[in-house]
Symmetry: C2
Subunit: 252 residues, 2 copies
């Protein structure tokens, strides 16, 4: 049984708590939040604290706190030589204070507090500075049901960057679709099955093979019609740039 | 029972054929393709032809042919005063020859020949020039299991334009994610659950509410790191433009 002290009670902290609760070989020995009120509801399930000097001894400390807080919090930990990880896609593993053994458990998923999340849909990228820590992190992630992947710093960085493209930027394209349909009192809801199908398609097909549409077909007539329809200059610029990008990928 | 003559044997023609085959109140009386070989396999299921002068009488003619072929083919039809529709999101309904009653059955979905498609996930946008045609088109679409929506020309146009954003452009963002991860030998597969979740999220949440990430947080440090990592100038430009777009949507 691997014992974990969890620090942070935001989206990731809360989802990790729930996933560890269900896991067989891991348990949350203690949960730290600087706002104890936010985890009071869990005090029958684990020890809770808002005081770093009360932290228990454990096999693993997971810092699920804001990127900016990781370095300071890791320095404030009142112990040495234990295994401490953060959960960020973009923060350097060396930002963790070197008095402890350091690593990263980066869950490649988008969490929101309300929605449930099955960790079989949360690939966890594991990075460690010393080899001995890897099996522990691997066992924790596997116990949660997550697919796992050992990565180096560069790989974690590009995965995080790619996540911005396929999650944040994609979501903004949905938003623009919403704005455009509403401008003519058409229903955005009609686009939802297409959005699901677009995501589903690349589960088995490469995005290269999955591409269709006027840009790929170099269909100038339709592209011109679309540019005429777009009134917002920013939407126009995005249309042009992504059309050019598709055409560079799929040259004639 | 509504009788349909289907013209065209591409992606849409083939999916319509299969969907109508399963439907109760509609049947394909005849299937036309200029390449008869492509539909020979169906000759036990319906009458097939490659000769326009052999077209049977039917309640509805569906022209599921390339955008560019719609006008010419509709003029070449050797009859008048019957109901003729095309299936395009962008072609004007007036491009159909006015000797017949005209309309559009625009399926708002992305079809590929291999994959099966359940028409409950294919919203069909219906446009007609005369009121009497609407109930027939509505009944056909409903029989296939599709959600239906009556639209005018402007609405169909903006839906098609929005489809380009949420389907083609989104797929290109997946492609860029693929390129970026591969540049460091990281696995694109790790991003697939995130891609599904991003699409799933907006089935119940507006894209506005679903947004997260460095752009929305106005997190300059992470944005700078990402721009540093991006080597391809086109990827950099897309990153900048979509970040700006998110920030315009979510001002401080
Ligand atoms: N959200 C995601 O989808 C996601 C996905 C993958 C990785 N991550 C990473 O996971 C980490 C946590 O993200 P999150 O989404 O859970 O953030 P969040 O919901 O904003 O929660 C942040 C947590 O950190 C705590 N915190 C902030 N500053 C602190 C400090 N100086 N000392 C102690 N605690 C502090 C916050 O406490 P208060 O409530 O008191 O402010 C809160 O409990 C980040 O590194 C993020 O990059 C997030
Ligand atoms: N694919 C989609 O996801 C989708 C979604 C919604 C709407 N649509 C619309 O549906 C229509 C058909 O698209 P599609 O994807 O099925 O295209 P497709 O797979 O390229 O098939 C086009 C069909 O049109 C035929 N055709 C082309 N020119 C012709 C001509 N001059 N005379 C007679 N037949 C001709 C082709 O015959 P040959 O095989 O002999 O070339 C083929 O059967 C288009 O208006 C498109 O905008 C497509």
């Amino acid at each position: 049984m691997i014992s974990v002290v969890l620090l942070g009670s935001g989206n990731v902290g809360t989802h990790f708590f729930k996933a560890i609760e269900k896991a067989e070989n891991v348990r949350v020995a203690q949960w730290f939040s600087r706002q104890i009120d936010s985890i009071k509801g869990y005090k029958n399930k684990t020890a809770i604290t808002d005081n770093l000097s009360e932290l228990m001894e454990a096999d693993l400390y997971i810092l699920a706190v804001s990127d900016d807080a990781i370095a300071t919090l890791s320095s404030a930990l009142p112990f040495e030589n234990r295994l401490v990880v953060h959960t960020s896609g973009s923060v350097n593993v060396h930002d963790l204070d070197k008095k402890n053994k350091r690593g990263v458990l980066y869950p490649l998923q988008t969490f929101s507090k309300g929605a449930e999340m099955d960790f079989k849909n949360v690939p966890i990228c594991i990075e460690t500075l010393d080899k001995k820590s890897y099996p522990i992190l691997k066992e924790v992630a596997t116990s949660l049901g997550s697919p796992t992947k050992r990565v180096n710093s560069n790989q974690r960085r590009v995965l995080h960057l790619s996540a911005v493209f396929v999650n944040n930027f994609t979501n903004q394209l949905y938003r623009i679709g919403h704005e455009i349909t509403e401008s003519e009192a058409a229903e955005f809801d009609l686009l939802k099955p297409l959005i699901m199908e677009t995501a589903k398609k690349i589960q088995t097909l490469s995005p290269y093979m999955a591409q269709t549409g006027p840009a790929k077909r170099h269909d100038k007539k339709t592209i011109e019609k679309h540019l005429d329809l777009l009134k917002n200059p920013e939407h126009k610029a995005i249309y042009k740039l992504l059309t050019k990008s598709i055409q560079n990928t799929h040259g004639r």
